[in-house]
Structure formats: C-alpha cells, structure tokens
Point group: C2
Chain length 338, copies 2
C-alpha cells in the first residue's frame, strides 16, 4: 500500500509513479506496442478484416457516485466496466484503455491507488491493455475512460437493425443497481443484509457482459447496453430501428427478494426493472427465425438471456401485464443538467 497522504503533497510525478506500479505489466512496453510514457500510444492494428470499436464514458464524483459510500477500488472497476459494456453491446472484443483522471489536491494517494487497482483488476480480467492516460487537477474526482476494441467486419451489432416481430432478450437482473443506489443514499426500507449487499454490489460493481455480447452478435440484429434503464434504452433501440415494442411485465428479471423496497420506491418490481438505470446488462433483438438457435447456443455456452417481449410495428413501447392489461411504458431517464 502506498501513502495515505493527500496527492497535493505527493505531487503529480508521485501519483504517476504509483499508477505505473499498480498497472504493472498492463502498461508495460513491448516492441510492437508503446504504452504510457510517450506522446501517444502506438498500437498494433488488427487485420483489415476488422473494424475498430471506440467508446468513451466518464464517472464523476457527486454525479455518478459519492466517495462516502463508493470504495475507490469499486469506482475503478466500474470506470472500466461501463466502457467494456459499450464494447459488449457492439459485439466487440476490448483491447486497449486510456484513463484520464481529474483529482482534487486533497484527495489521498491511497484513494487514487485503490482506484487504479480496481481499474487494473478489470483490465486484467478482460485482457485489456492500459495504453495511455492523463492526470489533471480538478474540483472533484472524475475518470474519463476510452476503450478501443475490435470486431470482425460484418459482425458488429448496432441499434438500428431491429424489425417488428424480433424477440427481445436481456441479460442478468434489471433494477438491482437502482435499488442498490437507493440503499447507498439511505432511501427506502432496508431488506436483509445479504440482499442489501447484493443490490449495492450491482450498483457499485456491474459486470460487463462481454461473452454474452460476442454470442449475441451471431444472432441479434440490434443490441444496446442498459445504462439509462430498460424503457429509455429500448426507446433508443426502437427509434433507431423505426419500431415499437411490447414488454411482458411478468417476464422481467427483477430482484424478487427486494420486493418491498422496489414497491416502496417504484410502485412494483416490474417498474423498477423498467425504469432503474445503470444495470449495464445487454438488450438485444433476435429475429424469430433465429430465436431457437440463439437459445440453444446460450444454453450450450452456459450463459443466460431472458426473453422479455418483442419489437412491434409501433409506435411506442407498451407493457403487457399478466391480466392482459396494456400500458404505455413510462421512462424516467437520468437528466444530467436539471
């Protein structure tokens, strides 16, 4: 462990030296590869049968997390994970990351150190090289991360390929992250300690669904990751694809063990799944004719996708309840500036 002193005392070079130690072989230099330490990274380019995938996303203190409840190591893991989720949603393979940090001078070096450890853990886990970055003073901590990846030409899945009749599938559990965030902010009735732990973990340490994205890319014709909430992100996919959608409320995978909390905060578990954001699960649209082969492949790979509805001619997104009642879906996207 490194010093717990404020980075204002350690200085920029001290912080950079610590980051270099933490990233270790993830940032090492190789003949065909040049990482941290020159003006820019030089990266081997995959063959011309590949496309480059590039995405950028930021985690900002006071907006996306608070230091009082978010351990630095998990902030580091999430800063990379949310970008890996974007690569997953294209059906791509992540290769390189650049990590640009803002930090206030009174932040402790140990906080930055643990952030870097978490970031490095996720990089190691998914075979990502840390090839560049930037460090600047700022009024709060913020990590702006760029991830570069690759995808075989013709395999990438965008948002705009969906057609009426396509089946909609999601990975994982929806709404858990939003419920976890509510607990971290002391809202709502508390479930059991185990359930609290699972929900806050879903919020603080989401799992990027890279294997799921690679598999779905062989079958889906539209895909998106769920960062703004199912209704909002399905809305993005529908608009891009020129479709509507219907979602079966009873099929939504929300955390059943947190029903009281979900009901107190969102009216129902299904509404938590429809509205809660930051799940970083995948949503994809698979043509009916491919659905059986897709489900077989999912089972063979030991992965998990839940069918939750289908695309329609539209317009709009409807939620269908078990009693046959239909309702226009309500989105409440997170609005950064209001």
């Amino acid at each position: 462990m490194s010093s717990g002193g404020p980075i204002g005392e350690v200085g920029e070079l001290g912080v950079l030296a610590d980051l270099r130690r933490v990233f270790g072989e993830l940032a090492s230099q190789e003949p065909s590869y040049l990482g941290i330490g020159d003006d820019a990274a030089l990266l081997p380019v995959p063959g011309a049968d590949r496309q480059l995938v590039a995405t950028v996303d930021a985690l900002v203190e006071g907006v996306h997390f608070e230091r009082r409840y978010a351990p630095a190591r998990l902030v580091g893991r999430k800063a990379l994970a949310v970008n890996l989720s974007d690569v997953a949603a294209m059906g791509g393979i992540p290769r390189y990351a650049l990590c640009a940090l803002l930090a206030p001078p009174d932040l402790s070096l140990s906080w930055v150190h643990e952030f870097a450890q978490g970031f490095g853990d996720r990089a190691r886990e998914f075979g990502v090289r840390i090839v560049g970055g930037n460090l600047s003073r700022g009024p709060c901590f913020a990590a702006t991360v760029t991830v570069l990846g690759e995808v075989e030409r013709g395999r990438a899945v965008t948002r705009d390929g969906g057609r009426p009749g396509d089946r909609l599938y999601v990975t994982g559990t929806l709404g858990a992250s939003a419920l976890g965030m509510a607990l971290l902010r002391d809202e709502g009735p508390r479930p059991s300690p185990e359930v609290q732990e699972a929900l806050t973990r879903a919020h603080l340490d989401p799992t990027p669904r890279l294997a799921e994205g690679r598999l779905a890319a062989g079958f889906a014709r539209a895909m998106i990751d769920l960062s703004d909430g199912l209704v909002a992100d399905l809305g993005h996919l529908c608009r891009a694809s020129g479709c509507g959608a219907e979602v079966q409320a009873a099929r939504l995978p929300w955390p059943r063990e947190a029903e009281a909390l979900a009901t107190a905060l969102w009216g129902s578990g299904a509404q938590a799944a429809l509205t809660g954001g930051e799940d970083y699960e995948l949503l994809c649209a698979v043509p009916e004719a491919q659905a059986q082969a897709f489900e077989l492949a999912v089972g063979r790979e030991g992965l998990s996708f839940q069918a939750v509805g289908r695309l329609t001619a539209g317009p709009g997104i409807e939620v269908v309840f078990e009693d046959g009642r239909r309702e226009a879906a309500r989105a409440q996207a997170f609005e950064h500036f209001r």
Copy 2:
C-alpha cells in the same frame, strides 16, 4: 446561434442536439463508419502496415484556462489541438476524435455551442472525424479528448531514439504561450496591442504541427511536443534516450518583440523560451548525417525548424551562452497538485 440560456434549462438532450448540429458532417454516419449515436464508434481500420496512434488530454476550467479570459471557441480549438500535437509528435496522421465534456448546469448553451464550433473548425481543418463523446454534469467545464490516428509501421518517432551528437530542432516560437498566459492573468508590463494579441493567441489557440511532424518522421530518431516547456520536455526526451543535451541560448526562437515582458517575468527571453510551457511546438533529434537532407526537405516544403543545440553523452541539460558560459538548465514544470 443557439440559445444563451443555462444548459440546466436546455437539458442533456438539448445540448446533445446542438452538438450534433454543430458537428454536422464531421459526425455523420457512413456505411463503413458509425459515429455518435450508438454504444461505441465503429471505425474502418487501416491496413496492417499501419499502427494505431491513440492519445488523451484534458482542458480543465480553473486549471488550464479561465472562462473570464478564454473565449469558448478558442477553448474548443485548443482542446483538439493539444491532442493533435501529440499525434504530430509521433509522426502520425490524426483520423478520429472522441470528446467527453463535463459541464456545470449554469453554463450557457451558447458557450458549449461555441466550444463545439471551435472544436469542429480544427477537426475540419485537419481531416478529423468526431466519432464519439460523452456529456456529464460536473462542478466545472472540462473537455477530455481522445484522438486516434495512424502511422506507417516503422515511421513512428518515439522519445527514446536520440543519440549523442544528434542535432536538436524546434518549430515555431518558444515562450510566447507562457507570456500570453501572463498577460491574460494581468501579470507583467504590457507590450504593444499587436504583440499582446500575438502572445495571447499563442496561448489560447496553439497550432498543432502536423505537417512538420510528418516531415520530421522521415529524418528524426526522437521527437516530443513541447507542452511542459523546452527544458522539461527535452529532459523527458533525454531521459528516455539515455542522453544529455546542450542548448545554444542565442539560437532559441523567443518573441523578440516582447523582450521587456520576458525579462520582467523570466529574467530573459532565452529563459522564457527554456521554461515557458504550452507552446505545442515540436522538438526533434536528427542524426548529424541526416541534418543537411532534413534542412533541405524543410525548406522545400516551406516549413520551418530552428536548430537549437545537440544531444550529448550527458548527464543533464546545459545552456551555452554567446560568451561561452555554460549553465545547467533550470526547469519549472507545471505541477498539478501543489
């Protein structure tokens, strides 16, 4: 022109819509290319005889500039330019940019709009596509920009290839940016209005030396861009190359018309050139045997490099004055956290 209201009233979607309009065809979608609007950009990959160049840099309000003196359009131009300068220093060609913004809710949309116009102007000028970005609330305005480019395999110039005896060349004028920043911050005696304009322009709107970097890549065996000041950046190059250096004070290209200001602030014009940062000029080390051919090629292309010294066996960087006096160079790198 768009509304001057605070972005807190316009909302995230309003800001994004405005950015899309400003970037126009720079962000347009093509069959083999997917830009803003999906989870990640999909980019055509140059042939495998190329390497990818990737760099990230941030401009932060209150650290790198103040809104009271830096027009939004110039902040936008500079946010891209400082990254293009890094690509230039590798001998590369910039291709794509991703622009991640933090913005406080009370910032006016017209400020963001003009930032985007400046960013787009520089992108257009250098043939760079804007392929992604991110927008988040934050306590100040900050732009974290990633630029991707390409370079022919074997042509890239890193910092570590310099050898004793190599001639050192720089582009442009050194120290002008630091003198311009001092004027913007009301420090030092004021030169004539024309000189003030030239110096503040050097600080607010630096020119990335892409043509110079491409040309130098055919001759130089080490190169770096001057962001921290000549002594500091030459120090980086020397450490990476395992060399020392000597710099001829009389050959340093500092702004002669600002001698009184330079002397008041730095003791001499030469010291302003040695110490002042943010010039975003290039420094390269050319083998003696290549120097004549390099200078001929520079003249033929209508470009300009000034010979300022040479690499030595070292250790350290010495400044040689006209009277033969030698002094160890003093660096005063900008320290972010002190």
